[in-house]
């Protein structure tokens, strides 16, 4: 939830782009990406500027991955300089066992969220990229060393088992 009373410093351009994205995202059904404040928080006329600052997406674990059957909340925070700067995307702490996700903090290691960001990307694209990351983990830049080592060793049974174990712990 966004704290109320926080001064909003979105420029007109940022706000206008976010409103366009909001309408486009509402029109499609594939990815569940909504402002964190809920539908009521984001006024249809866009007067609730703060409400477009924080977004939450629900990712379903891909069927052919160890994450099958589970769902994960992905939080997006839009900076004031968006779209020149990328949104900050993170999973909830201690909720996502993944090679490229810091388990304790939920921080995600994904190039397009850092140096490879480009302003032609949008929030939906970020969510889809993270969804792809669930299917295609990258052991070359691990934030979860435990899983990274197991994956590099090629022990797929241990890799799947550990992830299933973490998920069942919740």
């Amino acid at each position: 939830m966004v704290m109320s009373g926080v001064e909003c410093n979105f420029t007109w351009a940022t706000m206008s782009r976010l409103m366009k994205e909001y309408r486009a995202i509402r029109a499609q059904k594939e990815v569940a990406l909504r402002p964190s404040g809920g539908e009521s928080g984001a006024g249809a006329d866009g007067d609730g500027e703060d409400s477009l600052r924080a977004w939450t997406a629900t990712l379903e674990g891909p069927a052919d991955s160890p994450y099958a059957g589970a769902s994960f909340a992905l939080d997006l925070e839009v900076p004031a300089t968006y779209p020149l700067a990328p949104p900050v995307a993170r999973f909830r702490p201690r909720a996502m066992p993944h090679v490229n996700v810091n388990y304790e903090t939920g921080e995600i290691c994904l190039d397009i969220l850092k140096g490879e960001w480009s302003p032609v990307y949008n929030l939906l694209y970020v969510v889809q990229a993270v969804q792809r990351l669930l299917r295609e983990p990258n052991p070359d830049s691990p934030l979860n060393l435990e899983l990274g080592v197991i994956m590099r060793e090629g022990d797929l049974a241990a890799y799947r088992g550990l992830i299933r174990y973490y998920i069942q712990q919740q």
């Binding site: 206008s16 782009r17 020149l84 700067a85 302003p119």
Partner: protein, 370 residues
């Protein structure tokens, strides 16, 4: 079936097809950064267009990084230029919208929004003109920065075009800045230094992966590029085809071997005595010029000398300056289309669009929907 035939065919099609065409054209006029109609559209050499303000802001964020196109990530080596065609198309579109404002926008808020948008576009164009007149387009980034150049005569080592300092890929990881003269490097030096890619200014260029070629083929191509000697090609002939295709290295293999030996002794910074004696007066001048060149002075001398460097490249000296030209563009004379609204005829609005000159004046008849 040319322009005239197709245009009249489209104009007689059903509304549905016309709408599709209009929709696609309008979508092409959208800026990928702000998702608005392009306002002062600037085109990068890769062909992608963005608003002047959006692109300037993008270049000014991450000041330590190379400049790239937000869409295709191609390095932006040359200053983007105004895309007059899109500018004029959108200007005439908004003139039509203004003329039909009362009919198209029934609600007060819609009209206020249109006025706001038009005001923004006017501000943007003033902002661009102001920057242009003061010589500070893109905050002067294309005057104050440098380009990494790899020259085959110099073993393909990437160097700063400003001070010729060697750009080590390790130094460029955190910030794309020349470690010697601290100029921002516009392109990616590490991709130039990659042995799998060779990129030379005004010479046959190859960017590619070794895996894309069959065994031996890659090495053969690299050999051809390395042995390419610009003085063998007609120096006055500027045609690209002769430069990129017309080089067979087998004929001059011996000659090239001799030359290579000679070149390996010659560092870009050191002027060999023999070299100086052997070379003509004009070459002497060029070498002295290069030696005397201060660290941050790209724009003043390059105008008259860039051609010279390009044609005398064979002296084994890195002619980086020719990459940085941006100042010799002729001023663009921009004529905005003038729309004359006919008297308020309810059946059709006759709008004459003065696109370029009076000779090309044509009548545009817009039939009313009602």
């Amino acid at each position: 079936m040319g322009y005239t035939g197709i245009t009249s065919k489209i104009l007689t099609q059903k509304k549905k097809f016309q709408k599709l065409i209009v929709f696609n054209l309008l979508e092409a006029c959208q800026c990928g950064i702000c998702h608005e109609f392009l306002s002062v559209p600037m085109m990068i050499s890769c062909g992608h267009n963005y608003c002047y303000r959006c692109l300037k802001n993008w270049f000014m964020t991450n000041v330590n990084k190379e400049l790239n196109c937000p869409n295709c990530r191609e390095s932006v080596v040359n200053e983007p230029c105004l895309n007059l065609m899109i500018e004029q198309t959108l200007a005439s579109l908004f003139e039509v919208l203004k003329a039909r404002k009362k009919k198209m926008f029934k609600e007060e808020k819609e009209r206020a929004d249109l006025d706001e948008l038009l005001r923004e576009r006017f501000d943007d164009s003033f902002y661009h003109k102001n920057d242009k007149n003061q010589g500070t387009l893109f905050d002067g980034i294309f005057k104050n920065s440098a380009v990494a150049i790899a020259d085959a005569d110099d073993d393909g080592i990437p160097r700063c075009s400003n001070c010729h300092w060697e750009l080590e890929p390790e130094d460029m990881e955190d910030e794309n800045i020349c470690p010697h003269c601290h100029a921002r490097i516009r392109n990616n030096a590490s991709s130039l230094g990659n042995p799998n890619s060779i990129n030379l200014n005004g010479r046959p260029t190859m960017m590619g992966n070794r895996d894309d070629y069959s065994d031996g083929e890659y090495d053969q191509i690299v050999d051809e590029i390395r042995n390419y000697n610009p003085s063998d090609v007609d120096s006055s002939g500027e045609s690209d085809s002769s430069e990129s295709v017309g080089y067979g290295h087998e004929d001059r293999e011996e000659e090239d071997e001799n030359k290579e030996e000679h070149d390996s002794d010659l560092d870009s910074f050191v002027v060999d005595d023999d070299e100086e004696e052997g070379a003509g007066d004009s070459v002497n001048g060029a070498i002295h010029l290069a030696a005397n060149q201060g660290p941050v002075n790209l724009s003043s001398e390059e105008d008259k000398d860039s051609d010279f460097y390009e044609h005398h490249d064979s002296d084994g000296f890195v002619s980086g300056d020719s990459l940085g030209e941006s100042d010799n563009e002729a001023p663009v004379i921009q004529k905005r289309p003038v729309i004359l609204d006919d008297e308020d005829d309810d059946d059709e609005d006759v709008v004459s669009v003065n696109q370029r000159s009076k000779r090309q004046r044509r009548q545009l008849v817009l039939s009313d929907d009602e």
